[in-house]
């Protein structure tokens, strides 16, 4: 499993003192490991249960006492679910939405962030305040007027509705701007003297320097779009537009006694996210740390 790293370099303590402290804390270290392993086990238990249940026969899911490991291992659940549900449609829709939304959010967000961070023009700060202000407003508060607008535009019951809904969030602009602010102004200034246009400075200097922020925004947006339930619930009525979340929820109510299959579907809905997370989490953590802590 990939791992999260987030450590500042530590100043070396003088040797004798360090040795003494280390000897004293061997017991402490063992206790700490035991606590950590116990905590990790408790946190991961629901996932463990989900995966093992997805490989059980239906009546093995709830037994007294709990059967921890499937016997026999029912791999066929993973074949059956494709026949019993529209899993491929749901996954395809969700993937289309997540990729499009993420691209738009990262592109327009980082582009706008450059305007807010590196350009100076009248009204800039007031405008930015409007962005920040809406972050504190819960989406549930304005989802109704938004729905009415989208319906007027003829976007409801299309995948475009979800794209429009998710792609232009204030959040992306904000996160990117936080990061851009930490890039020294001298860099852009030097590039300006060399005759680069503002667009080139954004593309060739500022954007390449903001890897962790881009990775964070990419992951958060992708994960949020993938996992969004309420947006698709409101906007996507046709079955062939459903996303994995809506599909899974419907599947659960339809086959509410097929416990093993329900767990199989759940695993499939989590798997892509787990993979993406493991690929990118190294940057991700760094990005959240930078973005979250300047306040």
């Amino acid at each position: 499993m990939a791992t999260l790293t987030l450590d500042r370099p530590q100043a070396a303590t003088p040797r004798p003192e360090r040795d003494a402290r280390r000897r004293r804390s061997v017991l402490g270290t063992i206790v700490l490991y035991v606590v950590l392993i116990a905590a990790a086990a408790v946190i991961m238990l629901p996932f463990f249960w989900m995966v093992t249940s997805s490989l059980k026969t239906n009546n093995q899911v709830f037994t007294v006492p709990i059967q921890w490991f499937p016997d026999p291992v029912v791999w066929s659940n993973y074949v059956d679910i494709w026949a019993k549900s529209d899993m491929s449609t749901w996954l395809r829709n969700t993937l289309i939405l997540s990729v499009t939304v993420t691209f738009l959010q990262v592109f327009t967000g980082s582009f706008a962030a450059y305007g807010f961070s590196k350009m100076r023009f009248p009204g800039r700060d007031v405008l930015f305040l409007a962005y920040i202000g809406t972050i504190a407003v819960p989406w549930q508060a304005y989802m109704i007027p938004q729905f009415i607008l989208m319906s007027r535009f003829g976007l409801s019951n299309t995948l475009w509705a979800i794209i429009a809904l998710q792609a232009f969030g204030a959040f992306g602009v904000f996160l990117m701007k936080q990061y851009y602010d930490s890039i020294p102004e001298e860099l852009s200034e030097a590039a300006r003297i060399d005759g680069l246009s503002e667009y080139s400075i954004w593309r060739r200097i500022v954007l390449p320097l903001s890897g962790p922020a881009v990775a964070t925004l990419t992951l958060l947006t992708f994960v949020n779009t993938w996992n969004d339930y309420l947006g698709p619930l409101i906007y996507l009525r046709d079955r062939d537009l459903w996303t994995i979340q809506i599909g899974l929820k419907t599947f659960v109510s339809q086959y509410n006694a097929e416990y093993a299959l329900i767990m199989t579907g759940s695993v499939l809905s989590v798997l892509p996210i787990a993979i993406i997370f493991m690929l990118g989490q190294r940057y991700f953590v760094q990005g959240i740390a930078t973005a979250g802590l300047k306040g």
């Binding site: 304005y142 979250g292 802590l293």
Partner: protein
């Protein structure tokens, strides 16, 4: 969408030479950067927020036009018992979820703020629930919580608790069950924020405290807690807003039930708006949610500012 970020002091770009043509050019270029995002943002966020304030004073179902009714919706809210229940439930959920998540995520962060080998693995584990889908975890936890043969109750019975709670099927235990699950889901995210806050505390502060003879507990209260204050403030604001808009998890786990035991504000807005098509009335409820969130944010912001002085 999850929000992570706290306002940072903007660093002013270097002063440019005066000249109105240059200024005009800069304004133009600045806008071209912002526009692709701003158009979407303005049409789909700013305008809806403004329309909300109009809708709340109208009576409107899908058929027909919006009719101005003044304060009528808000007067109805005063006597609407379901609304009171939703408001109370939301507060109850927040009262459980905020302190619990604060404690657990801070505890995890303290535990994981070491140089131990493999500590990064444990951080990943703690963060993992946060990125998994609401529907999947709601379904899994519902099964884990199932009253008869669910693993949670089997465990409790093995501990000698003869009459374990019915969890999501019980009016008393449904909300605590939801709060537990959402704490489990969210703690990794807030842990990460705390962890970054802990990493930002200069090691010399601890060294100095140690020299002064402060023990572990004294160092925690006199160095860690004060240094973490900006992080704690930020996490509390974020947690509060997140608690007041809780919705998806409840919708999938309990659908507001049993009865109205877990009905919350967001869900009431959804019901009135999208199920009963009373857009005006639902907007009035939404205004209440809006006002609560803004008030809480401003209030916490003021407290933080006062303590800063």
């Amino acid at each position: 969408m999850a929000t992570t970020v706290a306002p940072a002091p903007t660093r002013a770009p270097r002063q440019r030479p005066p000249g109105s043509r240059l200024k005009l050019r800069n304004t133009f270029i600045g806008w071209t950067f912002i526009l692709p995002n701003f158009i979407g943002f303005a049409v789909l966020t700013l305008v809806p927020v403004l329309i909300l304030f109009y809708l709340a004073f109208t009576s409107w179902n899908v058929f027909g036009a919006a009719e101005w009714v003044g304060l009528e919706n808000f007067q109805d809210l005063i006597t609407d018992r379901t609304f009171h229940t939703a408001l109370r439930n939301t507060g109850y959920y927040a009262l459980m979820h905020i302190p619990l998540t604060l404690a657990v995520s801070l505890g995890l962060a303290l535990l994981l703020n070491t140089k131990l080998r493999g500590v990064a693995f444990f951080r990943t584990v703690a963060f993992f629930p946060y990125i998994t889908s609401i529907v999947a975890i709601a379904v899994v936890w519902n099964m884990l919580f199932s009253p008869e043969t669910g693993p949670v109750n089997q465990f409790l019975m093995a501990l000698g608790i003869d009459n374990p709670p019915g969890w999501t099927t019980s009016t008393t235990w449904a909300m605590p069950a939801v709060a537990l699950v959402s704490t489990w889901r969210d703690m990794g995210y807030y842990m990460l924020l705390f962890l970054a806050g802990l990493q930002a505390i200069p090691g010399e502060l601890y060294e100095a405290a140690r020299v002064d003879g402060a023990n572990k507990i004294q160092r925690f209260w006199n160095v860690t807690v004060p240094s973490l204050r900006p992080t704690t403030f930020f996490v509390t604001v974020m947690l509060t807003i997140a608690s007041f808009k809780i919705f998806d998890l409840i919708l999938v786990m309990t659908d507001g039930g049993p009865g109205t035991a877990t009905l919350v504000l967001s869900q009431y807005i959804y019901r009135k708006g999208f199920e009963e098509q009373q857009f005006g009335y639902a907007s009035a409820v939404a205004i209440v949610l809006f006002v609560i969130c803004i008030t809480v944010t401003v209030f916490q912001f003021l407290i933080n500012k006062r303590r800063d002085r």
